[in-house]
Symmetry: D2
């Protein structure tokens, strides 16, 4: 039996990444692809690297007949996603990759995204899509909200440490470096090759990045009290990959053990031997996340470094992992491709 899949927002990078991953999935068949701005084109025109696949033409969202579709991935821009999902059949399984359903508190949403949410009833039922920590909820969910790619990386480094109470909750700093594909395929001067290559800079420093409320929500929930981290993202001159260097106060050995124990049985999250440094190059194009721990020369301090691919484990790979759960597949189906190095 084959499950029929629709992808809305197929002309962006996360849409293309979903298609790349599903291409070798044994049970899913893509039957509809929507991209309003490029409707009428073939995927070979929009993404020539997918030209070997037999894919439907791009259409507008309202041209899709959703009866017969088993699951819909929604890879639309933030804010547009909510109204589209509101209009979908109420029994259609949906994995959303936008920010629209990540925050549980409508007021937090309004504060960070600058306006009232347009689909509060959907928001109420959405499950936060960090698979390793919401597996059971996701399995039975109708609507799963994919996490921010930066938010996922920081959480892999920190959630077990907060659960296990091995670090000081008031002294967490996440210094994050991300490849440029996380910013999407939009036409902005600062995303041009000539502007971005050969250097680096921080952006949204000081507490203004929209992945912060995800940290706040999740870390506070685990801790049972408000937790606020410091977070500085930087742009790397590379297309894929996030490296989060997380500074914590706690015993380095306890930190390492907490992470090792938390991820011992996880197929995609690997904790390196104490003292080793992960690299974004070693998870590139894959659904794996590598985590390293180093003790500092100053006693009681540790550095936790997490690496994942923003387009895979950070968004589309996570989305497929969640869809597998929702459709009854083994979680790893279609996701065991090894990283591409060099």
């Amino acid at each position: 039996m084959t499950h029929k899949i629709a992808i809305l927002g197929a002309s962006g990078y996360t849409g293309a990444e979903l298609i790349r991953l599903i291409a070798t999935h044994p049970g899913m068949e893509i039957v509809a692809l929507a991209a309003n701005s490029k409707a009428g084109q073939s995927m070979a025109q929009v993404f020539p690297h997918l030209r070997h696949l037999d894919l439907p033409m791009l259409v507008k969202i309202d041209e899709i007949d959703f009866s017969g579709i088993d699951l819909c991935f929604c890879a639309l821009p933030h804010a547009t996603s909510q109204s589209v999902i509101k209009g979908l059949p109420k029994d259609l399984k949906v994995v959303d990759l936008s920010a629209d359903f990540r925050l549980r508190d409508p007021e937090e949403y309004a504060r960070w995204y600058g306006g009232q949410h347009d689909a509060l009833e959907c928001q109420a039922e959405a499950v936060y899509g960090l698979t390793e920590f919401y597996r059971d909820d996701i399995r039975s969910a109708r609507l799963v909200a994919g996490t921010g790619c930066n938010a996922a990386t920081g959480q892999y480094a920190l959630r077990p440490l907060i659960s296990d109470e091995v670090i000081d909750l008031d002294e967490i700093i996440i210094d994050l470096k991300t490849g440029v594909s996380g910013a999407g395929r939009s036409l902005k001067e600062n995303l041009l090759h000539a502007e971005l290559s050969e250097g680096s800079h921080a952006y949204a420093a000081g507490g203004t990045h929209r992945h912060l409320p995800e940290f706040d929500q999740e870390f506070s929930k685990i801790a049972g009290r408000p937790v606020k981290v410091q977070f500085t993202p930087h742009l790397l001159p590379a297309n894929r990959g996030i490296l989060a260097t997380v500074y914590v106060k706690g015993d380095p050995k306890a930190v390492h053990e907490s992470l090792q124990s938390a991820y011992a049985d996880e197929p995609f999250v690997a904790v390196l031997p104490m003292g080793e440094h992960p690299s974004t190059r070693h998870i590139r194009g894959s659904n794996f996340c590598h985590i390293g721990v180093v003790g500092d020369r100053i006693e009681g301090r540790a550095v936790v470094i997490a690496a994942l691919d923003n387009l895979t484990k950070g968004s589309s790979g996570q989305a497929l992992q969640n869809a597998n759960l929702m459709l009854g597949y083994d979680e790893t189906t279609g996701l065991m491709q090894a990283p591409v190095f060099p």
Copy 2:
């Protein structure tokens, strides 16, 4: 049933690429990995991107028991490959990725590689590994000689045109651009990031590159008379990918039709619509080859542009494709992963 596989030279890029591809192959199991200089280490140490795989430790070649092994990939440096293969069991199937068995004429070998061949008896039985053109021979071969990655790219662009007699055989120019992984993992000043990034240069121009005798051998054989091409390779500041821009004299439409007809049923070679340009980015990390044809403003001239990934279709992917044939698998098994873009 599972076929047992050995890889010699597992600490180089083509060795790692073989492991990456075989990782999701349903019928092959890697039972031995050799790398003399790094024997005793794990693959996770040598190539951390493969740490999720359950692989044997690296050993020295002479520590391997070849009984029970079904097929051996040999990814050793040029010149060392021949003596190793000479010493392997005579009934062991071997796919060699070095240059040692590519040339049919021992004198040509001696001329281009600077010395007598050390395993002439093996050379005599070796089949040239350009799958699409030697498929039947490969299926029954014991020893297959993988092609040069540049040599493969140029041949995909040119072989049908020579067979179909649609171009002037004395006026062929191949201007080729290649990523740096083709030069391997060796420690050379000119392969350092600081020396190679952010620019380009030609090397081995004028007819000194060692992939030239492959062109000579193959094109002359097809034409039934000596054919000599002009060939200028350039280094690109990118890790993967070869783009061959081939200048021919002939009717552009006939050129395009010849290529379309030759590759109509091929799973991995795609001829783009007339006038379209392929890009190395669109085949990255995959076994696909994209070919474009553009007619020039000067009548009777065409430009044929071929793109493939040197580590996949140009070496390790080709090797697996050939191994599939030798072991009775469908040729595409384990090789249908979509390219990684961006």
Copy 3:
């Protein structure tokens, strides 16, 4: 005494490069900077790398009082340049960096640029700005038309060979690789980092690139009969630099001698010893052009390889070199900065 300089189109890459070079020029003072779309901003906002300079604010072109200005660089987009220059004071010296005044024949202009020229009277007086070959005309010119950056590179490789009649005029192929800054700071999907890095592709192959009529015009003029070259540009994943690999039929030694003799006294053009390959990395950020010659294994054929920086020798450096001549400075003033490597 100081000459007062205006730059129109200061928010683009060639505008910024002019300012970078003039920053250390002992005799020029920038007194007006125009950029219609960013008028009202400071250069530190538009190009933070120039923040240490004491520069005028950006204004709209029609806000500039041109009386008292000695020379105006015009770095505006093609087609808009002509009407602006038409409106400037008739005695103002102008160096134009656009394509608008490069072609001598108005019909050729109309054919390649899709419409009638709007300032034919200015076109008639414009001098083609390839300094080494139009030095005397430039010295006394009022309006100098900067060359195309690709057109400059190809001409440095070929002009002496055509003058000296050492090559076959009907068999010239220019395979050119260019960095991305040549495409300017415009917002196009194919100029994004994620689309351009890590690979290469050809564009405008077959005779459609707008630098071709410059080759036609200049080479035909030198030869005294029509000369048409084949020309295929490729995009490199690098910001600066053009490498032109030029295939010619002729005696390699005669080719090398012709180039050596032509450029023996030139301060910026260096012909490498026979057989050496230039690299774009070795002229990066400078006004130098390196040329190499390699003889092919096929008798009577040579490869000429020319490298220059598209933003410096290919446009803004050339413009300043010409402005130096027009204002009576030594041609090299402000231009002897060494290339930046690595």
Copy 4:
């Protein structure tokens, strides 16, 4: 009058960068270049980007006649520098770019560099070369010890804040990102293009990097009590540039004012308006350092971000700035070249 200059270690990147900068210096003439491993070669062979300069051939150090030389730059590897400098004429002015004379305490040197210092008498007279803070000492010094490039970047961000007592001395974290040229031209697998491009990783985390004792020495001296920072360097896939993201506890406004006040009259250090982020791309190839300050959403915390070019302001530009002082030139002579962007 011209000062005669020798450069020892001219075949490395800092040696080449010295030559690049001195090329347009009005008062310095390079009369001797040493590089033991490449003695007998010309600079055009070793660094083709310098081929336009009229430079002496490379010789071995002991072939140089130091009489008549006014100042010697020593760009040799760590540990070899000390014995060479010990053997130079005692009245020869020397600017050393190695780590050998940076630490004032011989025991600290032994602890971090793994052995006794071989030239303690020279160490005693060496002046630490961070120009802006040791200007008067440098002016009269015979031997100046260039700072570590990472150490310089962190100090520009932090020294005024420690002097002005506006931050908590026990809570300083430096998360630093550096381009690859800082690692030099040595042949290491992890410096290959294929290993380094397209990603990022941390190295020497936890307090093992050899630039740490410079922080310890300088910050403790300013504070009048021991100060220990946390320091994590990362490698960027870019050739030049260091970005230090420094986390401090203190009032952001006081932090910004402290930095603005400290650098108000400095020609090379620019403090950006509050809230702006510097980029390594905007100081590339220049002697400038840009510093930004952002207040965090958590009260009493600030992020200070400093960017400089490791080969210029971080080593060879700093060295020339110091040499200018030692020879009586204006400090900025030969160093006002604008950054190269893009």
